[in-house]
């Protein structure tokens, strides 16, 4: 990486991180909402652990994986909203007057949500473990969860950036939230796939990539080291990054037109 590119990324990353940290409206819901749902589901669905074949006797441990997924979805909203705001306020047009590279813009702009993603992951794990959740894979598992969270945050953040660059509207980015909420609920979020009774629902959950992200983290919490679950989870996260980055780069070409 040459010095100019590093400087560009560094400046935008600093701006992105400071901007994110100065917005409690982005941080508080991203921390509180997933933990609230965790608390409600852990109490409300504890009976599910009594179903034959349920993989753990602690629904809290089972549900803890969902918080990371919800956290990544907040990354999509936050990254997209911030970038859309830059489009709406003309900041991106002013950047177009500089020799800034598109790759530096995308990388720098995602720094804020990545830092927030780490804060989220640490908070979810601390709260979960304090409340009684287990991490079967131990310290290595915690590090792997952080690595996967990093990739998921990047992937969803890139998708949010793509939406922002494509539409140039924060309202349109916010409108994506219900879509991803649907993806979350139509996954193996609440029950393992083999215990989902409705055939059509099980089929949808099997095709839904969100299931594999949740199951990868869940395997570290419940099983220990499950190579297949981890490989699928990391593959889905990597695919999200590729798809998100390609879409964002294509949208950036038209958005960052230099005249």
């Amino acid at each position: 990486m040459n010095t100019a590119l590093a400087t560009q990324i560094g400046q935008l990353a600093r701006r992105s991180i400071v901007r994110t940290m100065r917005q409690p409206a982005q941080i508080v819901p991203a921390l509180v909402f997933p933990l609230f749902l965790l608390a409600v589901n852990a109490g409300g669905l504890n009976q599910a652990t009594k179903l034959p074949g349920f993989p753990t006797d602690s629904y809290l441990t089972f549900a803890l994986a969902i918080t990371f997924m919800q956290g990544a979805m907040f990354a999509l909203m936050n990254a997209g909203t911030d970038l859309a705001n830059d489009v709406e306020t003309g900041f991106l047009n002013r950047l177009a007057l500089t020799p800034l590279r598109g790759s530096a813009l995308l990388t720098g702009m995602l720094s804020g949500v990545v830092v927030l993603g780490f804060i989220q992951a640490i908070t979810y794990l601390l709260v979960g473990v304090t409340a009684g959740a287990h991490i079967a894979a131990g310290v290595g598992g915690v590090l792997t969860i952080f690595a996967l969270t990093f990739l998921m945050t990047l992937g969803f953040g890139a998708l949010g950036s793509a939406a922002a660059l494509r539409t140039g509207s924060g309202e349109a980015v916010q409108g994506l939230f219900p879509l991803f909420f649907v993806l979350l609920f139509l996954s193996s979020m609440s029950l393992p796939r083999n215990l989902i009774q409705a055939d059509w629902f099980r089929e949808v959950a099997t095709w839904n990539p969100v299931s594999y992200l949740i199951e990868a983290i869940r395997s570290l919490l419940i099983t220990g080291w499950d190579g297949e679950a981890l490989a699928l989870g990391f593959a889905v996260a990597a695919s999200l990054i590729v798809v998100g980055t390609v879409l964002a780069s294509l949208a950036l070409r038209t958005r960052l037109v230099r005249t």
């Binding site: 608390a39 589901n41 409300g44 629902f201």
Partner: protein
């Protein structure tokens, strides 16, 4: 006689305008339909295995069990969405013109309430039809179903009056989270997935004192043809409605004072 006529004409005009806006604008109509339908699909479809948990006895099946939650949730959020309409009207200046023009201002609140009840009837009918298509078993008779509809309408009125009270005080759509979040909390800290007896931990303690618990249990009693806690449920719902009616009318005074 003349006062009553003025009151009625204001209420009907406000209600008609609100309903016209909602039913001619898909962006306003669809969320109030899609969310309950989605919850019905996600909970009744994805979590039906929970009904196999030990001590879970609900003869009408898990779809009927979840339908009551979804119906009351859609009624409550129908009321909240009406609060959004009030806030938007004031934000765009229409609310102030309405205050100037209305010969009886109490009729404004009554009009919005009438619109909320109509919207709740519509979304409730759609959810009921979807649940029947999804194979819901209804063991309750006509009187039971009437009781369930009555319960949903009282919940809608209480939520609408709560949200209208907030909207009239803040007169800005930015107050939306203050309308939604308390309703979301009271709904999800009640027995959503399993009956109260099967809850555990803190959620059981909270659900035991949450008035929505009595409403869910009464509603589930109606749908299964074994009414239970009917008086308590209606007393709780009507109590909340009276409380929030006072809240809404005091909000109207606050809006008048603000000019």
């Amino acid at each position: 006689m003349r006062t009553r006529h003025r009151y009625r004409s204001v209420a009907l005009a406000v209600a008609w305008r609100n309903l016209h806006n909602v039913f001619t604008n898909p962006a306003l109509l669809l969320p109030s339909l899609i969310f309950p339908l989605f919850f019905l699909v996600a909970f009744a479809g994805g979590l039906s295995a929970i009904s196999k948990a030990p001590n879970f006895h609900f003869p009408s099946g898990y779809t009927a069990f979840q339908f009551v939650f979804v119906l009351l949730q859609s009624a409550a959020f129908g009321g909240v969405f009406t609060g959004f309409s009030v806030a938007a009207d004031f934000e765009h200046g229409f609310g102030r013109r309405l205050l100037l023009a209305a010969p009886n201002r109490s009729g404004i609140v009554a009009g919005y309430l009438l619109a909320a009840l109509t919207r709740a009837l519509f979304s409730g009918s759609v959810v009921f039809a979807a649940a029947l298509i999804g194979g819901m078993q209804v063991d309750g008779g006509g009187i039971d179903l009437l009781g369930l509809v009555g319960l949903a309408l009282v919940v809608n009125a209480a939520a609408a009056l709560w949200a209208v009270g907030i909207a009239l005080r803040f007169r800005s759509i930015q107050a939306g989270p203050f309308m939604q979040i308390p309703v979301f909390l009271i709904l999800f800290t009640a027995p959503v997935y399993v009956p109260l007896d099967l809850l555990s931990g803190w959620i059981k303690a909270v659900a035991s004192v949450n008035p929505m618990t009595a409403l869910f249990e009464a509603g589930r009693g109606f749908i299964s043809g074994a009414p239970t806690e009917v008086l308590l449920a209606f007393a709780a719902a009507l109590g909340l409605t009276i409380l929030f009616a006072v809240w809404a009318f005091r909000g109207l005074r606050a809006a008048e004072a603000a000019g």
